[in-house]
């Protein structure tokens, strides 16, 4: 309908300006459904080197261009992708043999081999410790190349759960020969990967134009051209999908997604993400070392109210650092909402109405659904128990920089993404003092977490994580709030598979007539 309208307007303009009739016919072609797709997306890529950043929001784009070694299906099961098979060669889980698919080609036609895997995961990160992949999969020592499609990853410590991370952040394979030839600057300017789409045009902060790669190993995608329109303002994304200028929009404000579900031209999908809205608490800031202070912060938050007001009750309040229904969820455990106890805790810590607690809260604005609203609601809730919180707006890029270099000066509202569903990537990383992702760095936890890392994937491991999670909540080392709810609004006629990780993967879309 919208395309037809556009045609008529253009026709009017064309005839008004006396332009040749050929323009009218061009418009005619437009009126039929073309196989291009435009997506209103909230963030731009931080860098075109996917191994250098841990940037959950941009993973959809990386997967388009670079594909991924392994892949989480829509029901959160880890599946093979570029890596066809994997097998532990030893009981101690230090040698993992991986087999690549045959015939994976990069966009320049060259073959993807274990050389490229080794270059991306061993050679580069060992030379440049700033690359995020070194922090994501910390114990990769070397990769023995057995054949162009087979190799053995050697770990310095037992790593039974590492395969979860082969489908996650920073684990991408970039072309060695091309990268060496054009240099890092050249690669960032014109990146190529082995994914279903090649990058044909990039306007920073504005749009990413992709074209289907006709020699993609798993078959050419049916949608030939995809444009990610980068619109950080949520209102712009809402307006874009509502006016029909884009085909898909994601991460809209919750209420808008609900409102658009009654629009007959659009399909609005609102669903739980495998993400936890939580408060990162920096252990290196003096005031948060006091357990009573942390307890007060946690006890005074009414998670039910947050869910009801901002998410129509759809978002599930969480008491542990795990999503509802995931393997390490503890349904019977509930961290209470108790203002009286909060005030008592504050008193114990030496704060009362004469000497109120002063803290800072940092939050993004518009990156996650209702993020800034939740932040302000938290400030008001804390005010009710006598805590004065100063709110400051921050961008994700800045937060990642500050957190990774341990320079946060206050509590940070963050949405922790974990498509693996595994507790190691929840509590195991949120609380690991040796990795860059934790804000709570308690050296005393290090041996315990190391032990959990090394445990084989058994029910005992899950039980141990459950215990850690409960302890984390009791001590408020990190404060879980709600399970994040994501949304995708699309024009009717496009089937968008729903990923708990919030991915938008055009290669998997199908057009319905």
């Amino acid at each position: 309908m919208e395309k037809y309208l556009r045609f008529t307007k253009r026709e009017f303009c064309a005839t008004a300006l006396g332009l040749p009739l050929s323009t009218l016919f061009e418009g005619e072609a437009l009126a039929q459904v073309s196989d291009t797709l435009s997506i209103a997306f909230p963030v731009d890529v931080q860098s075109w080197d996917p191994t250098s950043v841990t940037f959950p929001a941009g993973q959809s784009i990386y997967k388009c261009v670079f594909d991924s070694p392994m892949h989480y299906s829509t029901d959160q099961k880890l599946q093979p992708k570029q890596i066809k098979d994997r097998k532990w060669l030893d009981e101690a889980n230090t040698r993992l043999e991986i087999t690549l698919q045959d015939g994976i080609l990069f966009h320049d036609g060259s073959q993807l081999t274990m050389e490229d895997v080794r270059y991306s995961w061993i050679e580069r990160p060992q030379k440049d410790r700033r690359l995020a992949i070194g922090g994501m999969i910390p114990d990769m020592n070397d990769i023995q190349i057995v054949s162009p499609t087979k190799g053995v990853i050697i770990f310095s410590k037992p790593a039974p759960s590492v395969e979860y991370y082969l489908g996650f952040l920073a684990a991408y394979i970039i072309p060695k020969a091309y990268h060496l030839r054009v240099g890092n600057e050249g690669f960032l300017e014109k990146p190529i990967g082995a994914g279903p789409y090649k990058l044909v045009d990039y306007q920073r902060g504005s749009r990413i134009v992709l074209e289907a790669f006709d020699r993609y190993w798993a078959g050419v995608p049916s949608i030939k051209k995809v444009t990610f329109q980068i619109l950080p303002e949520p209102t712009a994304r809402v307006a874009a999908i509502e006016s029909g200028r884009v085909d898909i929009a994601t991460q809209l404000p919750f209420r808008e997604a609900v409102r658009l579900s009654s629009n007959s031209n659009l399909t609005s999908d609102i669903y739980d993400l495998s993400e936890v809205f939580l408060l990162q608490v920096p252990s290196y800031v003096e005031i948060y070392k006091n357990k009573d202070v942390r307890a007060a912060l946690h006890l005074s938050i009414d998670k039910q109210a947050l869910s009801k007001s901002f998410f129509n009750g759809v978002a599930k309040p969480l008491s542990v650092l795990a999503t509802s229904g995931s393997s390490s969820d503890v349904p019977g455990y509930n961290f209470p909402y108790d203002k009286a106890r909060a005030i008592a805790s504050l008193k114990k810590a030496g704060y009362d109405s004469a000497k109120p607690l002063q803290i800072t809260l940092q939050a993004t604005n518009g990156t996650y659904p209702n993020d800034y609203l939740i932040a302000r609601a938290l400030v008001a809730m804390w005010k009710q128990v006598g805590i004065n919180a100063t709110l400051s707006e921050i961008t994700i890029a800045k937060y990642l920089e500050l957190n990774h270099s341990q320079k946060l000066d206050g509590v940070m509202l963050y949405s922790w993404a974990n498509p693996t569903g595994d507790p190691e990537n929840f509590a195991g990383r949120i609380l690991n003092p040796d990795l860059r992702f934790a804000a709570w760095r308690d050296a005393a936890l290090a041996p315990r977490i190391a032990e959990l890392y090394a445990m084989k994937l058994t029910p005992q491991r899950i039980e141990a994580y459950k215990k850690l999670q409960i302890e984390a909540s009791e001590n408020s080392w990190s404060i879980p709030l709600l399970q994040t709810v994501g949304n995708v609004v699309s024009k009717k006629g496009i089937a968008v598979p729903k990923y708990a990780a919030g991915y938008i993967l055009p290669a998997e879309f199908a057009r319905r007539r």
Binding site: R255, E256, D302, F310, A377, A380
Partner: protein
Amino acid sequence: MIAVAGRSIGTKIRDFIGAIQNSPRVLVGALIVLCMIVCAVFAPWIAPNDPSIQDLANTLLPPMWSSVGSRQFPFGTDALGRCVLSQVIYGTRIALQVGFLAATGAAVIGTTLALAAGYCGGKVDRAIGYLVDLWMSLPPVVLSLTLMVGLGTGVGNVILSIVLVDWTRFCRVVRSEVLVVRRKDFVSAARLLGFGHLRIVLREILPSVAPLIITLFTLQVGIGVIVEAILSFVGMSVPADTPAWGMMIADGRSDIHAAPWVALLPILAMFMTVLGLNLLGEGLRVALDPRLRNRDAR
């Protein structure tokens, strides 16, 4: 001679007041501004609710005349359940505070430098003129934002950054007027009588340019209100829990479909305030400049 000077000023003031009474612009403008000042000063008594209280059970409530509205919230609530009307009323505080204080600062600095430049002439004038030109080589918004990055957020810094940017406007305009007044008879007369420079500047020149300064001041308050709104729209003004119109508008944008009143009321408030100030300033300008008065009376 002194008598001549005195009568000149006295007559001027009488003319001034007469002109004001005849000018609808001034009257309407003054009325609007007075209303806003009353709102700001008596906000705790006028506003129906505390603007910072969030009522999470009652978010995005429509105004009270709608079927689901409530009389407790005459203009409804925003996304956090805060009363829109109360926020707008309290918002006048920040707007007018910033506007008036910044205008005062800009007026003081700008006028002082203008008096020095216009009266002393020569190198002083050239130096100050150069400084003004230098400052005006940057778009004001760009300069304000840069200053806010350097200074940090907060009402005090907003006022400071407006002062640091807008003093040039005062300086330039007042200087031209000072140049004109300097050549007037009563000034030469005062000099002949042997009065010191400082006394001449303060007793003769300053009162003559005072009406112009008042006009500029009024207009500057309006500019200050707008700049504050721009800065809080970008999120670089007051902290998040202080009611400010710019921030209300920025917030109201995301719910513009479901709840347009959240953005519309602060927009209206800002428009009325600036309109009132502009009417007042324009009216004063016409009232005190006899040339303009006669010309416009055709």
